[in-house]
């Protein structure tokens, strides 16, 4: 694939993700200026990128959406669920195109017709108003905030947020005191007030009608100001002012630069003149150079790209818009920060091919092996009692420390925020919610929690499964909810956080909870678990049966879920990466599915056990205790074996037998057991001997061994031998 196209695909997906998040946020808060700006920028940049790869159909489709947002920014139209739906549909189409391009490297075949359909959809929603009837956005930033700031130069860098508050005329009747609200703003620096409409002569002035528009500057953040205004917020326009000094690079333009840029726009306006192409090229170059001179290289690049688009398409529109955007002093579209907080971090990030990071990770793994070999050598030297041993041990400790550091920072490079896995979920929930006619909202917490790239990428599918289950089986329909006194709109919480070496992700709903009796019944009907075991199961254990293969309690198979392939697939993909999934449910109150995942996939703490003279590793996370008991305390139950420990019956698996090393194992008077807990279930592994504990770099089995049952992966030991690390979940099944 051509390098441009590859870059285009990566970037476009990022912008789509940003735009989707912004649109969904706008649906909840149509007045959110920041989100609107951000969505606009994302669409604008998408359009620009499409131009670079000569994808005119995509440019057109995205332009239609951009127009809608542009008009909203100018206050010419409101953001409605319909317009949001249109914009999302546009993104859907773009995603399909990108997917097609990913496969072929070529522009999709029927894009023109599909693009036309998108454009027509926007036209229909606009009530027959042709798209693009409104010209390209001008400088959209309202000037009141800047004017207010300009009035008092001494405030300088302290100013952070500007607010414009237009109280309702009859607010005095409601006991409201608008200026008192302003007075209470945190970090208030300056205020101004103007009559909303010209003052009537004093004799005719209605003293009970508020005729003021109040503006103010504060040193507090936008959100603090918004919180302080409380229920008056809908009457407010709040703008966060980005200060030059604080950002260093200088977002606001010096007057001369501004003048030059504005002149280029004027130049571009003169179309149809002889030599127009040369004029466009020079305008673009001048604008890019001005911005580059100011250190705004991202903006300059944006303009250079727009220039390429313009020259290819013979339409000055995109160049004009790019210059406009630079003039509007918004952060550059490439950064497209979702909140002001990341505005400063995005510039520090570097896009590196994941394969290079993986190579580093792999090298670090080799280094760890080499380090362990020195450890082994030190031990040998100690046994032969030479003076070298002390030295070796000392050096080994240093190396151990350094390699550990290196490993942590290398693994840290593979870390991504979970936001990437979460990003598409609100959108999908919105769809499920309308398909099932069950109103629901998704509350996301801790999306910035970080985890290894492999974990983040794996997590999306399982989360989607769980979300579907929650909507399909968990959340009741509106009438049932009403009858139970629950709010009509269901709440699904997606919560992530770091717990020590683990990342925990929870999906909880406020639905009906899992019907345990029905689960027991289904388990019996389908012969999944023997009858006596079902009866002996606690409710929690019974609930856990939803993770068994072929288990589905839905009475009706819907398009969403209920085909019985859900939860066991979830468990499989999670455990493949060393994670666990558990479920908690309270009848009538809802269900919580909890994923406990390792922070990094690579490092696993294992305990070495021996069976039939072979060593195996057991993930230490799963080990509850180790103990020696009289062998005759292990009692046969049917074909299996079990032991009673602390009033709990625990199934016993002989490791040698389970791995096919021996048929029956040698009879011994004493048995060494490793008690483990996997997915909430206890099990004991009978081994010959228990060895050391170590931290290893786990490599998944590949090639011929890939399908080997009961083995999670392998690692190299210090003496060069291979240690197989067991997958306990599979062993106990």
């Amino acid at each position: 694939m051509n390098e441009f196209v590859a870059q285009f695909l990566v970037e476009s997906r990022e912008h789509i993700e940003q735009a989707t998040a912004d649109l969904l946020a706008l649906e909840n808060a149509p007045e959110d200026r920041e989100r609107l700006d951000s969505a606009f920028r994302a669409f604008h940049t998408l359009k620009g990128s499409a131009g670079i790869v000569d994808f005119a159909a995509m440019s057109d489709a995205v332009h239609a959406a951009e127009e809608v947002l542009s008009e909203a920014r100018l206050g010419m139209r409101a953001i409605t669920p319909v317009s949001i739906g249109d914009c999302l549909a546009c993104l859907d189409q773009v995603i399909q195109w990108l997917d097609a391009m990913e496969g072929t490297g070529e522009l999709p075949e029927h894009a023109t017709a599909e693009s036309q359909a998108v454009v027509e959809r926007f036209a229909r929603s606009a009530g027959g108003r042709p798209p693009g009837a409104v010209s390209a956005p001008g400088s959209m930033r309202e000037t009141w905030a800047e004017e207010l700031r300009a009035r008092d130069a001494t405030l300088g860098a302290k100013v952070r947020t500007a607010i414009r508050y237009a109280p309702e005329a009859d607010c005095f009747y409601e006991g409201d005191d608008p200026l008192a609200r302003i007075a209470a703003l945190p970090g208030l620096l300056a205020i101004d007030a103007e009559p909303a409409s010209p003052w009537a002569p004093l004799e005719e002035l209605d003293p009970f009608a508020c005729n003021l528009v109040v503006t103010a500057l504060t040193s507090s953040s936008r959100s603090e100001v918004a919180a302080s205004m409380g229920d008056a917020l809908p009457r407010c326009d709040i703008q966060e002012l980005v200060d030059d000094d604080r950002l260093g690079a200088g977002r606001s333009l010096p007057p001369l630069a501004r003048e030059i840029l504005e002149r280029q726009i004027a130049l571009l306006g003169e179309t149809g003149v002889h030599g127009a192409k040369g004029r466009v090229a020079s305008a673009g170059l001048v604008a890019a150079n001005v911005l580059r001179h100011l250190g705004r290289s991202a903006d300059a690049e944006q303009i250079a790209r727009a220039l390429a688009t313009t020259l290819a398409g013979n339409d000055a529109r995109s160049l004009r818009e790019a210059i406009d955007l630079a003039l509007s002093e918004a952060p550059p579209p490439d950064a497209a920060p979702s909140s002001p907080a990341d505005a400063q971090t995005t510039a520090r990030t570097l896009r590196v091919d994941a394969a290079r990071i993986d190579a580093l990770v792999s090298l670090t793994g080799e280094l760890t092996v080499a380090k362990n070999a020195i450890g082994h050598a030190a031990k040998l030297a100690q046994e032969s009692d030479s003076g070298l041993a002390v030295l070796l041990k000392d050096r080994f400790a240093t190396l151990d420390h350094l390699v550990g550091e290196l490993q942590r920072s290398v693994l840290g490079m593979r870390v991504l925020p979970l936001r990437q896995a979460f990003a598409r979920l609100p959108r999908l929930l919105r769809e499920m919610s309308s398909d099932l006619k069950k109103p629901a909202r998704l509350v996301v917490e801790g999306a910035e929690t970080e985890a290894d790239k492999a974990i983040v990428e794996m997590l999306f599918e399982p989360l989607l499964h769980v979300l579907r289950n929650a909507m399909d089986h968990g959340v009741e329909n509106v009438s049932t909810r009403a009858a139970q006194g629950k709010p009509p709109v269901a709440t699904i919480r997606l919560r992530a956080g770091r717990q020590g070496e683990h990342v925990v992700v929870e999906v909880s709903d406020d639905g009906a909870g899992i019907d345990v009796a029905r689960i027991r019944q289904v388990a019996l009907e389908r012969d999944i678990i023997p009858e006596d075991l079902v009866a002996a199961m606690s409710d929690q254990e019974a609930t856990n049966m939803i993770f068994e293969p072929g288990f589905s309690t839905a009475r009706v198979v819907t398009g969403l879920s209920g085909r019985g392939v859900g939860m066991d697939a979830v468990r499989t993909s999670v455990s493949r990466l060393g994670g666990q999934v558990s479920v908690e449910s309270r009848a009538g109150h809802g269900t919580t599915v909890r994923f406990t995942l390792p922070f990094s996939v690579m490092m696993t703490r294992v305990m070495v056990v021996r069976a039939e003279e072979q060593s195996f590793g057991i993930p230490l996370d799963a080990v509850v205790e180790t103990l020696r008991i009289d062998a005759d305390r292990i009692a046969p139950i049917g074909a299996a074996q079990a032991v009673v420990l602390r009033n709990r019956t625990i199934p016993v698996v002989a490791l040698a037998g389970a791995l096919g090393l021996t048929q029956d194992g040698r009879p011994t008077a004493e048995a060494t057991l490793v008690v483990t807990k996997i997915n909430g279930l206890y099990g004991a592994l009978r081994v010959d001997r228990i060895g050391e504990r170590m931290e290893v770099m786990l490599k998944p089995l590949d090639g011929l061994l890939a399908g080997m049952r009961g083995v999670a992966g392998s690692t190299l030991l210090g003496d060069g031998s291979v240690l197989l690390v067991l997958d306990l979940g599979e062993l106990f099944q």
Partner: protein, 93 residues
């Protein structure tokens, strides 16, 4: 009484002036458009009261007692009074 006319015709605002004071202040200012307003003992005033002052732009005798009035409203009054030179302040663009 937080709004009253003292001996020399000066209108005095004192303490915390509630919403209802706006109408009284307005009546006093209509009765004597040249009256000075003394707000030195005014701690706070409802928006409606400040609105009357903004509309009528009387000569103010200050500074007011309240911090918000002194730091923010007094400069605002001055701006409006000076800029409009006794007439009504200009409307918002």
């Amino acid at each position: 009484m937080t709004v009253r006319v003292v001996s020399d015709g000066t209108i005095e605002l004192a303490g915390v002036c509630p919403n209802e004071d706006a109408e009284r202040l307005q009546q006093h200012l209509i009765a004597d458009p040249q009256a000075r307003v003394d707000w030195r003992s005014c701690i706070a005033a409802h928006t409606s009261v400040i609105q009357i002052l903004l509309a009528a732009t009387p000569v103010l005798h200050g500074p007011p007692a309240g911090e918000f009035l002194r730091d923010h409203i007094a400069p605002l009054m001055q701006r409006h009074g000076c800029e409009s030179a006794g007439s009504n302040p200009p409307a918002v663009d």
